[in-house]
Symmetry: C2
DNA sequence: CAGACATGAATTGTCAACAATGTTAGCTAA
DNA sequence: TTAGCTAACATTGTTGACAATTCATGTCTG
């Protein structure tokens, strides 16, 4: 088992050295977990009390959340937790498709051989995990994240990496949460991951990009369908 | 002359209602114009004095600049103006290539006929401007921005639009500034713009994306060459 | 009864003082 | 002379009070 990858992180500064930073992480988690429901009005003094800090650092946390687009803010009027409608979710998935497609292309060009082997090993693990009981759904999701994370890293493009692991990653998590998750897709996703990994191993940039884009737009189609069913 | 497009803006809130917001705009401009040189150490109290405000709002402005990646900040240690090396610039251009390629694809799918005609008219203007004296270089740059801006808008993708006009746009401006600008590319760029517009008019998504990506990666190649010559 | 205006309460924006942290220069000792 | 420690300084992080703005309520007028 290759325990190289630190699961996710990159901005989940565990040992956050500043109050604002810690609070930012807390609120972010609360929003993504649905603790703070979408559309909730945010009152600075209330939240400051709740998190046991003063308004200064809390304000900084809110501003950062605004930049990550988890919160919308209107000057002098206050801020609310974002509300994800279908339209917004489509925008996010399309942006991710574009960026992660490019990441796959770059990975095919730049990923070192040993990392490619590690990627392949990771997929073997997933294969095994799927064989076992369905209860491993949680692990599978972690695995999916791991796969995409490694490719983003392999792109060696700082801007793309930061955006995928920062803003877009959080939003995608909210999208998934809202659609209640997809269990049946495990095998399909793994197959697609395999094909992408193969294209990268073959150094076929064009194919790696195309396959990644299909993979993500396919994921969106499913999420979209679930959402449509919910609303009928 | 179609005066529909407000040149740039989108986040250049002219009538910024808050001190922090205005200061944010000011500092941003100062950094891009080179008023605050790259790598400059930023001392909160000094800047607060310089801009005639207290540290509170200034701090907010700095945080926002950090999110836009115009400033790097180390907790408890202070912040500096970003320093763009070739590597970082390449990352930025590649990200832009990816996102704006996707925007062109979406524009080919979604742009209304009348906007397509307006786009064509805009290019006619540029044609005329190029015929005149070279002094119109400034206008040409504005025109280039206009063209790309309209396509980003036509993508109707909020996430892509915000990123292109926010973070990426500022950084690209700094890159261009650093390389001292390219005068000879005017006609080439216009030709490419024409081809892209034609692909969009034909609703050829695939081609629109490919041409836009070539257009941007071509721009990067030139900037890159200039930078390499500078350092030898 | 409807709509506009004024008033006050609630909330955000700004400020200046205080606490905590990082940095640097000078001193001591090996 | 230099490595390591110490203490003073500079700078950032945090706080609570104050000012400005918005929003809601209720009253008054047509």
């Amino acid at each position: 088992m290759s325990e190289t990858a630190p699961t996710i992180s990159a901005d989940e500064t565990l040992e956050a050295t500043t109050l604002a930073s810690r609070t930012f992480d807390s609120i972010k988690a609360d929003i993504i977990d649905g603790e703070l429901a979408q559309g909730t009005k945010i009152v600075e003094s209330d939240l400051a009390l709740k998190y046991g800090i003063s308004r200064g650092p809390l304000r900084e946390a809110i501003h950062r959340l605004e930049q990550i687009k988890l919160i919308v803010r209107i000057p002098h009027a206050g801020s609310r937790v974002i509300t994800l409608d279908t339209r917004m979710m489509e925008d996010i998935y399309i942006a991710r498709e574009s960026l992660e497609g490019m990441a796959a292309r770059l990975a095919a060009r730049l990923m070192p051989e040993n990392e490619i082997r590690a990627l392949s090993a990771l997929l073997d693990q997933h294969e095994a995990a799927i064989g076992e009981t369905e209860g491993k759904a949680y692990f599978q999701r972690e695995g999916d994240i791991d796969f995409h994370y490694r490719i983003a890293v392999a792109s060696k493009n700082q801007w793309i990496l930061e955006n995928l692991n920062g803003e877009l990653y959080q939003l995608i998590r909210m999208c998934r949460r809202q659609s209640g998750q997809i269990p049946t897709r495990a095998q399909t996703a793994l197959d697609q991951h395999r094909q992408i990994a193969a294209a990268i191993a073959r150094r076929d940039e064009e194919l790696a990009e195309i396959l990644m884009r299909r993979h993500i737009s396919g994921a969106w189609e499913i999420v979209k369908k679930i959402l449509e069913d919910q609303h009928d």
